[in-house]
């Protein structure tokens, strides 16, 4: 589980670490994430940090790259890693993005570090003959990750920033309807903050096309044992369950996620306190 940092780089507001981790690279599929131990020996930081895999490469038996912004002490520690430092990773974790069988047109929507997740998805889609268009956003130009690469890979790339410093002023959801209409999209893939995923899902539902979203919930384990990362998701049977985003997600069909009820236990969820489904097996 202990890999070695191969390279570190800064990309605008983000840091990227490439780690030699053949066991993870080998089994990787787009949408997977890794759990990274932070702080080194005797650290007081007990929980692993989750990061989407940005890229995998075959070098040195297999490397994994992830992209992050410094947010708290764990990411601050990661930002100080240097080449050759050991790094303890668990992965690949989570359910990857389902890919269409047919060569359809897909819009890939990313905000902030969420964009980093999209490029392996784009690769895989293009490998199946899909057309890929990007919509990437962020607060400001330095927080829009991967614009250049998107321009190289995508048929079209639309950028948004809240402050107007790059692309259109506004949010990805402001431009998404136009893009979907223009490219006649068949499906949407989205990564980013919950609020954005909710908006993207609403747009896709409007256009009646499938949307796959990758959510981020606070995770203590990433492997399905702690039950802390749940959110209300409607199952095939129509029943809402509190499902774990680490093993049943992080990728969900957008319209199945009850975005408005995240952070609550909906009264009609299976096992909700005093709910109608109490005593339903």
């Amino acid at each position: 589980m202990t890999g070695t940092v191969l390279t570190t780089r800064r990309v605008d507001a983000y840091h990227a670490l490439t780690v030699v981790a053949p066991g993870i690279a080998e089994r990787f599929r787009p949408g997977h994430f890794v759990g990274v131990a932070v702080g080194g020996p005797q650290t007081s930081m007990l929980t692993r940090r989750a990061f989407s895999v940005h890229d995998v490469k075959p070098d040195y038996g297999g490397t994994v790259e992830f992209v992050f912004a410094v947010r708290g002490p764990g990411t601050a520690w990661l930002a100080e890693r240097r080449a050759r430092d050991p790094l303890d990773l668990v992965g690949p974790l989570g359910r990857p993005f389902p890919l269409p069988r047919d060569p359809v047109t897909c819009v890939l929507v990313g905000a902030e570090h969420g964009s980093a997740t999209l490029f392996t998805v784009a690769d895989a889609l293009q490998g199946r003959g899909c057309r890929v268009d990007f919509v990437l956003g962020g607060d400001s130009a330095d927080r829009v990750f991967g614009a250049l690469r998107a321009r190289r890979m995508g048929e079209t790339t639309t950028l948004t920033t809240e402050d107007g410093s790059l692309g259109m002023r506004g949010r990805v959801t402001d431009v998404l309807p136009g893009v979907i209409a223009d490219v006649r999209a068949d499906a949407v893939y989205a990564c980013g903050p919950l609020e954005m995923l909710r908006g993207v899902t609403a747009v896709a539902v409007e256009f009646d096309i499938p949307v796959q979203v990758a959510v981020e919930e606070r995770m203590a384990c990433g492997i399905g044992v702690c039950m802390t990362c749940v959110l209300p998701v409607i199952g095939d049977d129509g029943v809402t369950r509190m499902v774990r985003s680490c093993v049943e997600g992080p990728v969900f069909r957008g319209e199945r996620v009850r975005f408005d009820d995240v952070g609550t236990i909906p009264f009609d969820a299976l096992g909700a306190p005093g709910g109608g489904t109490r005593n339903v097996g």
Binding site: M45, V225, M242, T277
Partner: protein
């Protein structure tokens, strides 16, 4: 490195802690569950439970807070799917149960009586007693004893009943004693002390449930103290020790304090292989110190100063 929980033999002393291994199958991708002493289930409740809203966890110095709220499928689904899955794989299973009334605990125990594959029943007493204004059973010796006595009376005689205690009490020994008097075959400690943290950015409690259970190495000194005090008072009662065990050294610490089984909880979140690693480290530590049997180390730190280290070789036989 076999050990005994009451008269039940376990191949080794390392188990998972209740609620830290979900249904078991999640960990099975990482290692063969039959290789650990036992797997302890999450606390099973009568009805399915959706648990608490999120955020359910917050990291704290050398620990974490959780407020999961016993999310689980309910006893029917547990007996139908989870327990048989474990039994088929030969996994020794300690079934943890949680309830809001003595009757609910008893009903759960009754459901387990005929179920194949129940190695022991651990009674999670850290549940609010809905008949006593939500006061947690574990904080009240009489209520705890009542639950234990009732569960004991319906369980098969050959399935040990383990009372799981909370450190949030004035005197853990008196609660332990009440449980043993009530019929507990073994004691398990410690459940999470109640803690809280505040997100200073949002200026609000970090957890949706406001307070949560503290776990991890931060609480190990409380766990060692509780195990020590209870073993000193009730040396013949087997104790499952838990609380912040990350390494074989930590497990050994609880064993020296008096535990004959050690459960691993939060460490699993950090290291899915924690149980087997801890077991290996513990075996190495014991071997390096010349112990041939685990029982020789159980409670050894209680020996009077100057006493030889090997004076308790009769412990294994009398561990019930």
């Amino acid at each position: 490195m076999r050990t005994y929980l009451g008269h039940v033999e376990l191949a080794n002393p390392v188990t998972t802690a209740a609620g830290c291994a979900a249904s078991g199958s999640e960990l099975a991708q990482f290692f063969d569950l039959a290789r650990i002493g036992a797997l302890t289930t999450r606390s099973i409740t009568m009805a399915p439970r959706a648990g608490r809203p999120t955020p359910r966890m917050a990291e704290t110095p050398s620990g974490m807070l959780n407020a999961v709220g016993l999310q689980g499928p309910g006893v029917d689904a547990f007996l139908e799917r989870e327990l048989p899955w474990l039994a088929q794989r030969g996994v020794r299973t300690v079934v943890s149960i949680g309830g809001g009334t003595v009757a609910e605990y008893t009903a759960l125990a009754r459901r387990l009586t005929d179920a194949p594959g129940v190695t022991a029943v651990e009674v999670n007493l850290s549940c609010p007693n809905i008949e006593d204004r939500g006061r947690v059973f574990a904080r009240d010796g009489a209520a705890s004893a009542e639950v234990i006595a009732s569960v004991r009376s319906v369980m098969r005689y050959d399935v040990p009943v383990v009372a799981k205690l909370s450190p949030d009490v004035m005197d853990i020994v008196s609660i332990a004693r009440a449980c043993v008097d009530g019929g507990a075959d073994a004691l398990s400690m410690i459940n999470n002390p109640l803690g809280m943290s505040i997100d200073t950015e949002a200026m609000r409690p970090s957890l949706a449930a406001v307070t949560g259970g503290l776990s991890g190495p931060a609480i190990r000194p409380l766990a060692v103290r509780c195990v020590w005090q209870v073993h000193a008072a009730l040396p013949s009662v087997p104790v499952i020790g838990m609380g912040g065990v990350l390494t074989g050294r930590d497990a050994f610490e609880l064993i020296l304090a008096g535990a004959c089984v050690v459960a691993v909880g939060t460490a699993l979140f950090h290291d899915p292989y924690a149980c087997l690693r801890i077991l290996r480290e513990l075996e190495e530590l014991l071997a390096a110190r010349g112990f041939h049997r685990l029982a020789d180390a159980v409670g050894l730190a209680h020996r009077p100063p100057g006493a030889p280290t090997r004076h308790r070789t009769d412990l294994e036989e009398s561990s019930l």
